[in-house]
């Protein structure tokens, strides 16, 4: 099973990278660019075939390692 985990900053947490990217896009002449936020995309291959079990494991991985839940939130997507 393949999973994609999206780790992004919680709302309201300052995102210096996103801010700088937004700024640079403006300088490059792109118009109408509003807020830009940068997060992580982590692609994981799992041998687990049961969807519920995989999800539970991924959730634990996020809590323990992949996301810093003090400032980040996460989202899990599964593909068989």
């Amino acid at each position: 099973m393949k999973a994609r985990v999206f780790v992004t900053l919680k709302n309201g947490v300052l995102d210096p990278q996103g801010k700088a990217i937004g700024h640079a896009l403006g300088n490059l002449g792109f118009e109408g660019v509003g807020s830009v936020r940068q997060g992580k995309l982590i692609e994981i291959e799992l041998s687990e075939t049961d969807e519920a079990k995989a999800k539970a494991a991924l959730k634990e991985m996020c809590e323990k390692l992949l996301a810093n839940t003090v400032i980040e939130k996460y989202d899990i997507e599964l593909k068989a």
Binding site: L9, G12, V13, L14, D15, P16, K19, A20, H23, N68, T69, V70, I71
Partner: protein, 736 residues
């Protein structure tokens, strides 16, 4: 907090204010406070901002000397370093945020202290970090070390300010409450110093830097409340640092400071807009009116309460001369920073805050400063530990040395400092690994020597002597590189002042600092207190960290610890009684934490140190102070740094090996001098009344020609083997 919140007794309690304090607020205002005012009082009267438990004791510290330009009370202390140059420096703690989010907590700690320094007109030139972690085998420690170190590095490296020295130690008392103390040292010109006193009425108040968000609200009050089990769960919003913006802010501020448009300037640190605006008005004897609608905002629907208490990073408040706004704005726009005139100074001595057309706070400025509560908390002074210590006299010293060199406290900290850019700015003439870092004053031959020091286990055993020792060690480390120690900054990390025993440690500690600083003419010019460092009722070891700064007139005459030549005579300066109480040896080899902390004879410190400094000025280039681990560890460090061996030939009895090699008597130095000069130096010492002994030679080798360390009771071990042991522990540990 969007709807107006009523000020109920619960709300008051949540703000950490007790009944008496609340009554005082009502009295000062002549009415009940609004929620915004309550928030403002709660942060300004917090331990962190008001020093309510320590203020009466801190008054006892010596803070002046002919070379001190600014003592405590401003953003940072300032000393004169000659030729119109001044050195601006301060240390600050970021303990609680770093425990909750090590990377961001440590990074924003570094950013905050840098702002304190450049807000005074100085360009930061060196950064130092004093770190205390829990036991290595505690499940959180590794993660905390990794996060804190990379957070400090990421901020300092991006700012382009070298991180040149620090400390990294481990002890179980920090398991749930690590210490991250960051120090910043800057340079300015004496005629270009900026202060925070907003004198005069009708001057524009400008906000510059990053936009305001909901970051770290309650940060200041959090730093003043004891940790308990669910504070990890509560997870207060931690601030995120943006070193890129700070670098722009630094350059923009220095550019504006080159003009004469600024009347006063202050960074927004703990309690952000609240403390910066009220303190500027208070110091200037003026009043201030600000309109929150003009504050640059990152998020929508920020309330007045949130804006006043936000701890968003990388922001500054400045008061300009009227009519200079456009000029300042041009500079900040060039650096792509926010700039907004948010108010004016007044002559009302009141702080007035408007939001959406309404007055949300209106209070006398002095209510937040002079009228803040001061407590004379009850304390008991514990009897210092004492008594004979037990150890096995026949234990092989070389084996013990090898073990000591690989302990968490004595091992090499290279893994840490290699993550810091310590060479940027091209003035780091003494890099990490020595007794003190030396940073050249740009474009001159002068150097600033800086270090941070404290030995918490001594402070636990004897808070008074331990605090003296912290100052003495900083003084000694600066002396050992050839610097003249000038002044200090401190970070007083203690536990809960509401407990008489802990308060006793605070009082004795401050008295010890005061005495040492007085005798050594090493005044305290800035600093901060971090109290309530305890978890579930268990306090940390008392940790009054001292940051020292000294001056070398000519960096070409600097000494370093590395042996430089074979055949040099090794001289031991100072008395060796073999004091093993509270030593690393006793703890690591015998498993005992007992005995008295080593006594600190300040007059002797001064005499020995002045003698050593004189020799360095006359050409001695190899010096090391003797500290943790004692004489043999110090010799090993000199050998490892130079890749040159040594033989020690003691004239002492076999049963005294252990105390001689591992005792932690104070006021001692080792030096290596050309053998031909040894006698003359010993004679000079005798004349000066300084104890000095010739204890060995550099350059010992084994029959394979490899450099070795050997001597009486010391079977030869190669310097390569010592180094391998010394370098291994931390990287191995961090691999997990």
């Amino acid at each position: 907090m969007n709807a107006p919140v009523a000020v109920t007794p619960e709300v008051v309690k949540d703000h950490g204010l007790n009944d008496a304090e609340y009554a005082r607020i009502v009295e000062l205002l002549g009415r009940a406070p609004t929620i915004v005012e309550l928030g403002i009082f709660s942060v300004m009267w917090s331990e962190h901002c008001s020093y309510k438990s320590t203020r009466i004791h801190l008054k006892k510290l010596p803070t002046s000397a002919p070379w001190v330009i600014q003592g405590p009370g401003e953003n940072a202390g300032i000393i004169d370093v000659g030729d119109g140059d001044v050195c601006v420096f301060k240390m600050e703690s970021h303990n609680h945020p770093s425990f909750i989010e090590p990377f961001q907590g440590a990074a924003t700690g570094v950013g905050g202290i840098m702002r304190d320094v450049f807000t005074m007109g100085a360009r930061p030139v060196a950064s130092l970090d004093s770190l205390r972690f829990g036991e290595p085998n505690h499940p959180k420690t590794r993660h905390l070390v990794a996060g804190v170190v990379s957070g400090i590095g990421s901020y300092g490296n991006c700012m382009g300010i070298p991180t040149v020295a620090g400390e990294t130690n481990f002890h179980k008392s920090y398991n749930g409450n690590i210490l991250v103390n960051a120090m910043c040292v800057g340079l300015a010109k004496a005629d270009k110093i900026f202060y925070s006193a907003a004198k005069g009425a009708g001057n524009p108040v400008v906000y510059v830097g990053s936009k305001t968000g909901r970051d770290g609200i309650h940060g200041a009050t959090m730093a003043s409340a004891e940790f308990n089990e669910d504070s990890e769960e509560k997870r207060p919003t931690v601030q995120v640092g943006d070193p890129f913006t700070e670098k722009l802010l630094l350059e923009a501020c220095l550019e504006l400071m080159a003009t004469d448009a600024i009347i006063a300037i202050q960074d927004m640190g703990a309690a952000g807009l609240t403390s910066s605006s009220s303190e500027m008005a208070d110091k200037g004897g003026s009043g201030i009116e600000i309109d929150l609608d003009k504050v640059p905002q990152r998020e929508t629907n920020l309330t007045a309460y949130e804006m006043m208490l936000s701890e968003s990073q990388e922001r500054m408040l400045a008061v300009l001369k009227p009519g200079r706004e456009a000029e300042a704005e041009r500079i900040f726009k060039k650096w792509e920073l926010d700039f907004s005139v948010i108010g004016y100074t007044t002559d009302t001595h009141r702080m007035v805050v408007r939001h959406k057309g309404e007055i949300v706070a209106d209070m006398p400025v002095t209510a937040l400063s002079d009228a803040a509560p001061i407590y004379e908390r009850p304390f008991v002074k514990r009897k210092p530990t004492s008594g004979k210590v037990s150890f096995e006299a026949s234990r092989p010293a070389m084996e013990s040395l090898l073990r000591l060199l690989s302990t968490p406290d004595l091992c090499s900290k290279r893994w840490v400092w290699e993550q810091y850019d310590y060479t940027v700015m091209a003035d780091s003439v003494q890099q990490p690994g020595g007794d003190a870092a030396v940073v050249r004053v740009h474009g001159t031959d002068k150097g600033l020597a800086c270090c941070t020091d404290v030995t918490p286990r001594y402070c636990k055993a004897n808070p008074f002597e331990g605090a003296k020792q912290a100052v003495a060690e900083a003084w000694r480390n600066i002396t050992a590189v050839g610097g003249l120690p000038l002044a200090t900054t401190d970070c007083l990390n203690f536990s809960n002042p509401e407990k008489p025993e802990a308060m006793g440690e605070i009082v004795a500690g401050i008295e010890g600092l005061g005495e040492a600083c007085r005798v050594l003419e090493f005044p305290i010019v800035s600093g901060n207190c971090s109290l309530y460092n305890e978890t579930q009722g268990e306090g940390i070891l008392p940790t009054p960290t001292i940051g020292g700064v000294g001056l070398l007139k000519d960096v070409h005459k600097m000494a370093t610890v590395a042996f430089k030549r074979e055949g040099d005579a090794i001289l031991l300066i100072g008395d060796t009684k073999g004091h093993l109480g509270q030593s690393v040896y006793l703890r690591e080899i015998e498993g005992l934490e007992e005995g008295a902390a080593p006594p600190v004879d300040l007059k002797l410190e001064k005499k020995n140190g002045d003698f050593v400094r004189g020799l360095i000025e006359a050409g001695t280039d190899t010096v090391h102070d003797i500290a943790d681990g004692g004489l043999l560890v110090a010799v090993a460090e000199m050998a490892m740094a130079g890749g040159i061996g040594a033989v020690l030939r003691g004239q002492f009895e076999a049963d005294k090996f252990i105390p001689f090699y591992f005792g932690e008597d104070q006021a001692r130095y080792l030096m290596a001098v050309p053998a031909a000069e040894a006698d003359a130096i010993l004679a000079k010492a005798k004349k000066a009344g300084v104890r000095a002994r010739h204890i060995g030679f550099t350059g010992a080798k084994n029959d394979k020609g490899e450099a070795v360390l050997t001597g009486v009771g010391l079977p030869p071990v190669t310097v390569t083997a010592l180094k391998a042991t010394h370098e291994a522990w931390l990287p191995e540990y961090m691999k997990g």
